[in-house]
Structures are given as structure tokens and as C-alpha cells.
Amino acid sequence: MKPTTKPTARAGTLLVAALVLYFFANQTQVGWLYVMAAVMGGCVLAAAWLNRAMLRSVMASRSIRLTTPAAFPGAKGATARIADAIHEGDRVEVMLRLRAGKSTAQVTLTEVCPLTSDAQLRTQALYIPMLSRSAIIEHSYDVDVTQRGIHRFDPLKATSHAPFGIFARQGTITADAALLVYPEVRPLRRLELLDRRQTLQQLRARAGHGSEIIGTRPYRPGDSPRHIHWRSSARQQSLISKEFADDAQPALLLTLDCFAHPYPTATAFETSVKIATAVGEYALRSGYRVELLANEHTDPKAAHMPHEETWHTLLERLARVLPRGTQHLADLLQKPSQAQVAAVLPYPDLTCAAHLSRLRAAGIQVLAIVVSDAQDEDCAAVAARLRSAGVDTRIVQPGDDWENTLAASAAYPTASKANTRAEIAAP
């Protein structure tokens, strides 16, 4: 923003005084009145000149530091907290460092903190009565980060009336900073969709399904004698089995509907992101390969290719997604290669429900999580459609205790019990 200078009422008062004195000086030819008029005018002009330099000399920088991380109950191993990463709910310290350059400054700053919704902390008016040349002033405050996403701090809005309050100069002081806030992680206790498959896997005798040996482990009853690593067994005086890479690691397609629906609600979408994070975290923790499909691109021709996500990349993507996609999620859900699909739907979309039903009919296990602000007819219709197709459907309202809703067992026939459309038809 280009700095602007506006005269205050005092400038007008002094100029009026100067004019009056000048008028009387001309009337009376008193020399000292010319001097007084010049002094009054000089005050205004000197103030204008000095006021212009007032903001120019101030330099600012900003740093953000994590002070109190939010608790991550249950998250460990592959989904352990990433060092220095900031999640929703964390407390951070924002440090503002101000320094006057060549000249002294007096300035009022408006600091707008995008990290919090607390009105008192969000907009702070800071007054610096005197910032001497080369002196440094530090201002820090703690905020609880309430919103995921990329938060950019705007330049500081600065106003200075100095000296004498005759002119008001407004401008900005650059102290740019950006912060990526990951979504809140609420680890799930269980998720039926994924637990079922895991149970099957745990029963297998072989340590892994692939051919590549990735390590060894103590022999367990039932291990194939072919897979005993004799050299290690001889060395350790106990049987040691080879462990193979799990080439056929179970995969989950996690979908998040980011379509710019006509009546989106921010709350529902944010809850959806949290749920997607929780499901992704659970899947990764459970040994699943997770691919995230989010129709977030604003370009209608952009290709949406699901990628395998690590915990870090999953958080990175979910921190950034916004509900402004131009392609329908249903159009992207054509032929998933994964056996499990978890779809998080922040908007009760019947088209999407139809596609999910089709996937279920194709034998894919589908978990549909419909997030709705209210239990309206659309939501009920979507849920009915999905359930009638045998899709495990959970309806979640923002603010609900949705971890329990997701952890609960399905109350109607699911894929494990009935894999055919006929069976699904009889709830």
C-alpha cells in the first residue's frame, strides 16, 4: 500500500492561525507578526516533512515458534508427530521485532494475526511512543491456532501522527510471514472398514507377501521352514525367519469431496478434512497404503491422479485443500484399484452417492462419511441411497463426537456379510 499523508485538524488550526497573523501583519506592518505567521506555517511544513519520514525508517520482522503442541493421543509409529509441524489446536508464539533505521520513530501499528479467531488477539493495536534510532522493540504473543491452512501475515498497518499530531501518515510496514498449519489429528480407536482386512492379514503365516527379503524376525509357529534363515539361526542359537516385503500391501483410497458445491459450509468442510486426516492416520498406522483423491483443482481439465501418501504428504495436502474444485468427485471415482474406499462427503451429493453405490456393487468395500450441518432431507436421502446399496454410511455433524461415530460398528449388512447386490437389498 502506498503511504498516504493526511492533515489533521491541528494542521488546519495552525494554518488558520498563520493566516490570521499574516493578515494582521499586513495590516499593521508589525515585523514580529510576520515572524509569528512564519513560525506557525513553519510548524506545519516541518511536521509534514518529518511525518513523511516517520514510517520509512521502521523495519519489522516476524517469527513464529511452536510453544505448546496439542496432545496426540494414540498417534505413534508411522503417524507420529512430525517435528516442528504445527497443527490446529497448537499454541504458538508470534514474535514481532521492530527496529528504527536512521531516525527515531513514533508509530501506531495494527497487527492482524490470521492464526486465531479470538477477536482480541486477531487485531491488536500497538503503540510505540518512541522507537529510538537503532533500538529494537520485541513484541510477542501466544495464540492457539484454530484453523488449518496456509496463513499469511499481512504487512503491519502503520499510522504515525508524529511529530506534533499535525499530519497523519498511513502505510504498511513489511513483516511478511507464512505458516502452514496441518489439520488437527484425532486418532481413531478403530475403523471397521480397515480393521476387518487387517484381521485377515494378521492370520497369515508368512511374514509379508512379496519376494524381497526386508529383514528377519524370531520364528513363530507356523512359519514355513523354507523361510528359516539358517545362518542367523546358527549365530543366535534360535530359529530366525526371513521377513518379506509386503508387495500386496492393502491399500485404501481416501476421497475427499472438494467440489465447490453451491451451498458449502466452511464448518462441514473443515470437519470433513479432520475426518479425512483421522481416517488417513488410522490407515497408515494400520499398515495400509493410502492414496488420497481430492477434487481440489480449479482447472476443470486438470488430471486428478491419486498418489500414494506418506503421513507427511498426507498432512501437507490436507492442510491445503479448499472446497473450490471444479470437477465432480463422482467423475473421478471410475475404476479404483483399491479394495477399500473411504469417501468423506461434506455435502450430501446424490450423484456421488450413486457412484459410491456402483463401486460397492462392483465388490469394493466403501465407507461413506456424510458430514452435514443439519439432518435435512438431502442428507437422509443420500444416506438412504448409500445404505440401500450396502455402503457403510456414517452421518456426522460438525461438533459431534465423530470419533465414536466412526469407531462404532455398522448397524446394517456390510460387505463382509453380503457381497452381492441381492443380499444388500435385504437389510
Binding site: 485538524a9 488558520v16 508589525v30 515585523g31 510576520y34 527515531t104 503503540y127 529494537i136
Partner: protein, 740 residues
Amino acid sequence: MKRLSTLILQLFLYGTGLLLTLVSLGLRTWTLASFALLAFLMGYQYGRARASAAAPEDSRQLRLMAYGAQVVGMAALAWTTQLWWLFIPATVLLYGGHQIAYRTRARTSWWVRIAGFILLHLVFAWMFFGMFNGQPYPQAQAAILATVAVSAALRTRMNLFSGIGLGMANLYVAATLARDMSFLVFLAVFVVLLLAFLWRADDEDGLKANLRVLRTSATARQASATRFVPNALVVRASAALVTITALLFVFTPRFAGHPLVPPFTLHAPIQSAPTGQIINPAAPLVRLAGAVNSTGDYYPGFDSALDLSYRSGLSSDIMMYVRSPAASYWRSHAYDTYDGRTWMLADESVERIPLEGPFYELDRFSFRRDDVFAQTYQIVRPLPNLIFTAGRPVQLYLAATEIARDSAGGIRIGEALTPNMVYSVISAENRLDAEVLRAAGTTYPTEILQRYTQLPASVSERTRVLAAELADNLPTPYDVAKAIELHLRSNYAYTYFPPPQPPGSDAVDVFLFEDRRGMCALYASSMAVMLRTLGIPARLVAGFGTGDFNPFTNLYEVRADDAHAWVEVYFPEHGWVPFEPTAGWNGDPQTGGVQRWVFTGAFGTVDLASIPTEQIASAGLSILGAVAPWLPLLALGTLAFVLLRRRRLPRLHMLRRILSWGERRTSIDHPGRKAILTQYRRAQRKLRLRRNPAETTQEHARRSPGVANLATLVDIAAYRPAPPNADEIQQARAWKREGR
């Protein structure tokens, strides 16, 4: 939403501005247009005043600065007028007024307003009484007293601004009366206080309006305190202010035409009737015609006859100050008859001039407003009963019942001019260039020719021959006059004390061919006589030279040694034109054009380096000298103030309260809290058991069980965040009844 009164005043100012614009367009007078602009600006400003400015001002620092600015304004006035007897009680009363204003700042106090209204009217009544009663500087007294009269009503910041405005009004009056550089010291202090006030007020606003105040850390302060570094902003602000002010002062045009507000005189009117006699109060009782090695204020030219054989020096005492936009010789009268030794006026009769309205009309001709200029003469030392003028005088503003004009056009009054007398003259510019004068011709009116070519028999032949030689082959009287003027300026030395004139000799002959040195009257006499020998009408004129111009006061300082004689030559259709034959004097005695810029006249002739520094320094030192006797008292007062503020003298409650602007230990605004604490104080007084400052209320209650209940209520009133409720206040009041 704006208050109705604000709206009405704003509309009134806009209406006035519109009316003045229409009138100024009709009359084509820029001065009225400036008034219109002023009205518009004031209306605009009045509407822009911030609401915060109308809130009660709690800052004691701001109040102290406003008080200081007011005192400086009054001090400047007292210094200029020597009204110290008024200044000293006024500062004390002003302090009291601020005390009341601070204490009653929470809400408008009607009795304060009514008292201020009455006092203000009494002040104006006193001023008018003083004007008609010969009081010294009644306007200055009124300015000081008015500042005091309204001081109790200065409760808001806007009021404090107005108070500073009153201080500036005092300064304004002092400026109109100031004649030296000492005013600059007061002006500088006032400006510093004004800017400090503005700065602090801005700071207060910042502190109030923002929740968080960021200051440099203590470590940084300590680091910077290890060496003395003047505040860069203050240094830059000072430098900028001084530079810009100086530039504005120099490059501000000056419009010194006929003033919109006519000049007026304030001294008691002169009642005596003027006569042909010139009364010179400086004239010595015995005047010796021979050489006298003395200097004084007496100039023989300010007399009924100018005796060329009189020898006397002149002092450097300031005789009068002249405020004029145009440099000029200050002419008083002329002589027409020369007898070889003296100049005199053959016809000593005078013509009475009637008073027409506020002024005397000296010359009846129509002039354009822009062609005239006003001069104001402030008499410092006694001067003859002659009116000094510049250019072609048109109007005279003088408090006299009667004036008269002598036969040579000089203005006479009935009494000698006395110190502090002020009069103003409006004159027309009558500067004529050489070509115009060359074209004037030689068709002189007969009476002029007869009267101003008169010569005595004592004029020598060699004088006539010299004149003829100088005028040889010169085509016009103007060229002849310039040739004689140049000859005299080039070949003769100036001295106050030429040799005594031999008895029976002609003064001009002796000067031209024997002594070849002399004073101005001899130069002028020689030129006038030589011109007369050639048939050109000429006369000898007396008055004062221009004097030293001070660009800051805009005053010409005219000293006794500026008394001067020069020559006027008559040109048909143009009248009398001055010439300067005296060596060492300004060669152009014609009244200069009105100076539009300060540098056109001031810095062209005045040595810049010698003006400000020495004069300012000496002015500052002289003020310091005057203040010095009061410094020990001031030091004692400051010490007492500091001690009392620190509560080292616990028993002087009242004095301490006065010095602390009525501020108590805790600022208590709630009436309930106030009532309980007042009751507690009364109880202590009644029981004659005062609480020691070190005691808590409960400790005091143990010593004085009579106030036990009250002590608990005092704790509630003083420390509980919630104010006391009605029952608690009632309990406190009940103590009063029980006490009785």
C-alpha cells in the same frame, strides 16, 4: 452526531464567509477575500474538531505546558510594557484558575462559567476605563487579565488549546509593542512549549487509544544511556522548523497598501493649539554659535530658524521607531529664506486643518488604494512639535484636537512630541524617475519663483561662478541639480565640527571655498543657494534620515544622529523633489517603493551577520539578567515542590494538594467512594486523631476505636473493585450523625 451548537456555529461561519466573498467580489478588495477565506477555514476546522478534544483532560503534563505557554505570553507582554506589577499576581491567579479547572474537570461547572463571563466583562470594562483614564497599556492589561479570567474554565483539551490561544494573543500584543530582539526569546520559548504540548497530546492519544504500548527494552535503554545522544527527532524537528520558518519569513510577500483596519492613536489627545513657533524640548538653554565639542539630542534644524554657525554633535540615542513598508527620509518642515547665516521661514503663519472623522486630511486628491502606504511613528525621546512624514502625506491619524500646516507644507501640533506617543500617516508614493523630471521644463509659477529663488547679498560671486560652471551646457534643471549634488558629495568632507564661521561671512561661501568640510545643513545650504543663483527654485528641508531597519521588528530605528537637512527642488507639475548633497548619506532621498519582500529593503542595506546573533544573544542575556534575582526563589520553590511531591513533609496536606493540582493519592471519581473518604477525613478531624501516613486504616482504628466501622468502609471504598453500595454509603453518613 454533531451538537446543535457546533452545527449552528459552523453554518454561521460558512454564511459569513459567503457574505464576505460576495462583498469582496463586489468591491474587488483582496483583504476582504482573505477574511472570507478565514471564515471558511474556521468553519471547516470547527466541524473537524475531534470528540476526544471535548473530553475532560486528565493529563497534568499537558496542563502544565499550557500554563507555561500562557505564562510566557504574559511575560512577553510584561517585558515589553513593564507591567510586572500585574504579571506576578496574574501568574499566581492563573495557577489557581488551572487548579479549579483541574478539580472540576469531570463536568461542566456552571458557576465557573458564570464567574468567567462576569470577570471577562469586568476586564473589558477595566480596559475602557484605562483607555480614557491614561492607564499604561490598557489593552495589554486586558490581554493578561482575560487570560486569567477564563483559566478556571479550561477543563478539556480543547479548552487548553484555547488557553494556549490566549497565550498567543498575549504574545501578539507583545509583538505589536516589541521594538527589539528580546521578543524572539519569548517567541522561541512559546513555540517550544506549544510543540511540546502538541507532541505530548498526540502521545496521550496514542496511549489512550491503544491497548498495548511497546517501549524499548531496558537493556537497550541502558546501552544507549552510556553516551549522550541527543534525540534525533528533536534535533531534526528543530532544524527543520528553524530553516522552514526562516525561508517562509524571507519569501513571504508583504502587502502594505492602505490597511483595511485604519490606524488609531491611543495616547491622551493634545489640546494645545498649534502656532508657527517650533518647540524643541531638546534645545539647550544657551546656544553658542561657535564650536561646541558636545553631543546631545538637539539638532538645530528642528527650530524656527536653522543657524548654520551652530556647531554640535548628535548622540546615537533612539529618538523614534518608524514602521513603514517603504524606506524614506522622515521629513518634518522646510525653510525658504536664507540670510547668509541662518535659514528661516519668511511667513510664520499657519493654516488650521480641521479633524474629519478619525483622521486629518492633509492632501485632497484622489488616490488608488494600492498607491498609498501607512507609516506609524512611535516616539521614544522628546521631539519638536513637528509631524514627521514620508512620501506625499495624505491622512494623519493623531490624537490632537487641532493641527496646522505651515507656509512650506510642514505639519505642526500644539505640543512637543512626547515619549510613547504614537501617530500614523497615510502617504502616497511619489517617486519620480529622471526622465520625467528632465521633461518637466522651467515654467515655474511666479510665487514659487519669487519665494524660493530669494538670495541675500552675502552670497559671493565665486559661489555664483561655481554654480554656473557646474551648470554649464546642462540642458535641464534636473541635470543641473544632479551635477551640483554630485559635486558636493564628491569634493567636501562631512564633519559635525567645521571651524567656526567668521563674523560677517557667508556660511555657504566659507563652506564651499574655505573650510571645504561641514555638516549636512552646510551641504544642503550650498546646493540650495547655488540652484537659486541659477534661477531654479530650491529650499532646505529638515527631518530625519531613514535610520536602521530591523527586518524582524519591521521598524526603522531612528536615532538622534539621523537628524538631517537636505534639499528640495521644484519641478513644474511635479512639485518638490528631494536631493541629497551630503557626502556619506544615502544618495537617493526619494521615498522608495513599497517593499513586497523582506529582502528587497532589509538585507540590501543591513549587514546580515550583525543582526541576529549578537542582538538575540544580548536580548537573551538581558532577560536572564532580569530573571536572575528570582532564580534563588525559583530554586527554593522547585525544591519545595519536589519535597512535597515526595511527601517528605507529611503535615502540609493542603499545600501538597495545591501543588499536586488537586490530585489525591488515589484518583477517586466515584461519588460513593468520595463520600466515604470525605467522611473518614472529617471523622479524623473531629476526633483529633489523625492517621499517620505509615498507618493502615485498621491500625488507625485500633488506636482510635471511634472510626473502626468507618475504617472498614474506607477499605471497601479504596480497594474493592466494585464501588460501595447505597447501604455502605449510608453507614458512613450515619457515623456523622452519631458523631454529632
